[in-house]
Subunit: 143 residues, 3 copies
Amino acid sequence: MTRTDDSVDEAVLARIHQLYGRQSHLIDGGAAREWAETFTPDGEFCSPSYPAPVAGTDALEDFAERFYAAAQDAGEVHRHVVTNLAVYRLDRDTLRVQAYLQIVATARGGESRLVRFTTIDDRLVHIDGEWRIARRVVSRDDR
Amino acid sequence: MTRTDDSVDEAVLARIHQLYGRQSHLIDGGAAREWAETFTPDGEFCSPSYPAPVAGTDALEDFAERFYAAAQDAGEVHRHVVTNLAVYRLDRDTLRVQAYLQIVATARGGESRLVRFTTIDDRLVHIDGEWRIARRVVSRDDR
Amino acid sequence: MTRTDDSVDEAVLARIHQLYGRQSHLIDGGAAREWAETFTPDGEFCSPSYPAPVAGTDALEDFAERFYAAAQDAGEVHRHVVTNLAVYRLDRDTLRVQAYLQIVATARGGESRLVRFTTIDDRLVHIDGEWRIARRVVSRDDR
């Protein structure tokens, strides 16, 4: 595992912390299009929880809408809790970001429970003045 | 939902991460006055877990003391776990901060449990050279 | 409790967030030597979960290897979830860092559970151009 390179300076790290902090609020709050736009136009989302990778803004938006609708249909609120961000520079315009991601569900009038523990391993690129996710790979601890 | 504005630069973001990191240690450790002083002198705390909003440093201090005493009376330690900070600039001296806030309780000699999952939506103002919370609105996922 | 000093500027805070974000991935992923090297060469790890303090890079590496092997033997993945970092400057080359640390375990094919809630209180020193942990004290909420 590479070190978190000192060339990931505080200005870059601030943008990444903002991106990851905000991203969960988007999908969990039903802002599907804005969530999709945290990826590049051809960005890929690969998770063992779903049958096939999802790629491209429109498909990512659909995916986020279905995630949100499924929680609502279940009478629950689902949250993506992101912790332990570690940011590595691959080259000038490319970063690798690792993080822990816990899915927590709460039933209306009920208890909150940890649904699953996953890790994410992302490749980010710098386009149009901002960092976006080109590829996300999710791994589940129960697999 | 607004974007996390790039005008929230790394210097401001550092202060906000420090404020939110530290704030939980204060209330969870019984430093009620210091917790109250992370709010403005007339700061407001609005939460559906309590009958009425709490406003002003003295009332906030009382609130924090009661929170800590209630946990102790129950033979438990209660923690405010803050994640997913997203910081937005409203104007030069005003920020909006969203975050996830989980309350976790641990009984002496017992297990830890997630008591509830909440979100916070705060308005911060810059006074006397530091950022303080002017108004916090807590929402519960189970409501 | 001291305030998070403004002299912990954004450049220092970025390094500390990177260190703590990355450190959990190391021990949880079996990179025992790299985890040990986040401490100073004579760094100390003091936790009530283990019979005696662990000191020095080799002993810390052994400790991390045993942690990882124990989880594997149990057919589980164990994670160190770090939140609520609060960083205080003690002097030019010394920092204090407080954080919440939750241990979450997931059985292969099973559920995830919060094993214990702990707090960490670290002293860091700046050597060879980077911040390392000179002494970590872990406290358990169930004790």
